[in-house]
């Protein structure tokens, strides 16, 4: 075999190796989801959704955890979206290129890399202790809001950056002020991109476990929260609690709750991808 043939062979070998690597992760994911469906699907019925947690596996349900997750999702959106989008607008449209804006930028990039459990420690000390909110839904939402803020800010900046300059030029030429241009032209034009980022960030918040455990969310809450100051549990914590129990019935419960959690995550990601595709075609 001469060197040309050898090189061609290697080239082809790498091609198949590349295909294998690309597929293997997804295949494992499919195998795993299949396994979870086998373990958990038969456990899902209406009473599983509406039952309170119980010491007996077959009587346990996810009602309180599901309600807790919905509360967390709503409150986190209310807190994180306005602040994140506002900060993104400031950085993209107002801040001048100087030391200060450089500092803001490196800071946000660093925050995006801080492990989620560290946000939990921050929330425990600042929201739970100093602000005296206790292990409440509000304290949990504030903590998760800080966690997803960098994602929303980066997505907002990217979306605004993609709006052609001709649009804002036209708005200024008609005598609009800076804020009028942003509010009436740039924000509507970039809303698809911002929405994509926001949904992805929220889907991350729904799946977070560690920071909420640190903040003090409970594995067992007898009632669903009715005010932001109530104690709470969320789906991932309920799953974690069930995984750590030895009886097989709880493993089935964990698998069933995972199906619900994955369903929520995948639907949110699907919506985000839909908006991204729709929005990407807009400026082409």
């Amino acid at each position: 075999m001469n060197s040309i043939q050898k090189n061609r062979l290697l080239d082809n070998a790498f091609k198949y190796w590349g295909i294998f690597c690309t597929i293997i992760g997804l295949v494992l994911l499919v195998v795993f989801i299949g396994d979870i469906l086998i373990d958990g699907l038969s456990r899902i019925d209406w009473s599983f959704i509406t039952n309170l947690p119980s010491r007996k596996a077959e009587k346990s349900g996810i009602y309180t955890a599901l309600m807790g997750s919905i509360w967390i999702l709503l409150l986190t959106s209310l807190i994180a979206i306005p602040i994140g989008v506002a900060a993104g607008i400031y950085l993209e449209e107002y801040s001048k290129k100087n030391k200060f804006s450089g500092l803001l930028e490196i800071n946000i990039s660093n925050l995006a890399g801080v492990p989620s459990i560290i946000y939990g420690l921050l929330g425990l000390e600042v929201f739970v202790r100093i602000m005296n909110l206790g292990a409440s839904v509000l304290a949990g939402s504030l903590t998760l809001s800080l966690l997803i803020l960098p994602i929303i800010i980066v997505a907002t900046r990217e979306a605004i950056k993609a709006v052609p300059k001709s649009i804002s030029d036209a708005s200024y030429a008609l005598g609009a002020s800076k804020w009028q241009t942003i509010w009436n032209q740039i924000l509507p034009a970039s809303s698809g991109g911002i929405l994509t980022g926001v949904i992805l960030a929220l889907s991350r918040a729904v799946g977070e476990t560690a920071p909420l455990i640190v903040v003090g969310a409970l594995a067992y809450v007898p009632f669903a929260p009715s005010t932001p100051m109530d104690e709470f549990s969320v789906l991932p914590i309920q799953i974690f609690n069930w995984i750590s129990r030895p009886q097989h019935g709880f493993i089935e419960n964990a698998a069933a709750a995972i199906i619900i959690l994955l369903l929520i995550t995948f639907i949110m990601n699907g919506i985000a991808v839909y908006f991204r595709n729709k929005w990407q075609n807009k400026w082409k």
Binding site: N7, R8, L10, D11, F14, K15, W17, G18, C21, T22, G25, L26, L29, D35, D39, P82, I83, A86, A87, Y90, L91, Y94, S95, L103, L104, I106, N110, L111, G113, V114, P115, I117, I118, L121, L122, L124, E125, L149, S177, K178, W179, L200, S203, G207, E208, T209, A210, I213, V214, A219, P236, I239, F240, I243, S244, I251, A255, L261, L262, T265
Partner: protein, 292 residues
């Protein structure tokens, strides 16, 4: 009137941006404050040299090394999985795959990173560990190996996505020059494109390491809760993050030394990830404009 309104709006947007600075300041202040009190009671030399971590036992030792070794061991296993696979994916997608395949597969791969980590923990404990036990019967029910492998699967998209962007940004003229010399795609990829995109690839690796070090739920569920100074992947270990979870689940009095240990462990973790993130940011800024 209009000027006032514009001014007020600008200031409130600025305030939102400043919140991010406050968050960083808050993290450093909270971790620093509790850690200073901790180190007034525990000598910092013991903290870094004692080989036992037993704050929750009667015979208390405060050596971070066992937690650190657990963290580094699981992260090392994860990177050993994610790096070769992630890099191969990125090279295949950027140099070999048809555009349509690339466009469909990339969002699917990112789905791997979207799955909540508690789900991966379940996967590691219920599926991967029993499978590995059927190969090595001596493997303990909680171990660094299966937690590390599953964590590696989770961070594959971090490596592949950023690396692929970097490879894709390399100008076509470089590839054409290499093909013109008679190189195969493989030779072009490894001798021309990968070196040209090396800064982006290094960034992706550093971010993946930082992600692995900070990962919590997979290791808390599947690696165990026994701090021990070992590099043996088949026995239970405890990572820094898993220890913080363990203490948070228990009944630890606020203000006690046990309570402060989670902040001392936290600041160690923060220092590591901060260092890695800063390095990757510097590299990214330095080489960003290379091919634009």
């Amino acid at each position: 009137m209009r000027k006032i309104k514009e001014f007020v709006i600008e200031q409130s947007l600025l305030t939102s941006a400043l919140i991010t600075i406050a968050v960083t300041f808050g993290i450093v202040a909270v971790l620093g404050f509790e850690a200073v009190i901790f180190f007034s009671e525990v000598s910092i030399i013991d903290f870094f040299t004692d080989t036992q971590w037993t704050p929750l036992f009667t015979d208390k030792h405060y050596g971070i090394l066992p937690l650190l070794s657990g963290t580094l061991l699981t992260s090392f296993i994860a990177i050993s999985v994610a790096l070769p696979v992630g890099l191969s994916i990125s090279i295949y997608l950027s140099e070999y795959a048809p555009t349509s395949f690339r466009k469909t597969i990339k969002p699917l791969l990112e789905l791997l990173a979207a799955v909540p980590t508690v789900v991966y923990g379940f996967f590691a404990l219920i599926v991967v560990t029993p499978f590995l036990q059927s190969i090595y019967p001596n493997l303990s029910g909680f171990n660094a190996l299966s937690a590390g492998i599953v964590m590696g699967i989770m961070i594959i998209p971090f490596v592949s996505s950023i690396s692929e962007d970097a490879l894709h940004a390399v100008p076509h003229s470089l590839r054409e020059a290499s093909f013109g010399m008679g190189s195969t795609r493989l030779q072009t990829a490894f001798k021309v494109v990968v070196p040209a995109a090396s800064s982006g690839i290094i960034v992706s690796i550093i971010l993946a390491i930082s992600r692995a070090i900070g990962e919590t739920m997979i290791v808390a569920i599947a690696a165990g809760q026994q701090p021990r100074l070992t590099l043996d992947p088949t026995v239970p270990v405890e990572t820094i993050t898993a220890y913080i979870v363990q203490v948070s689940l228990g009944d630890v009095q606020h203000g006690s030394i046990e309570y402060r240990t989670i902040f001392a462990a936290g600041i160690t973790l923060f220092a590591f990830t901060f260092l890695l993130n800063t390095i990757s940011y510097r590299i990214r800024k330095k080489y960003q404009a290379r091919y634009e």
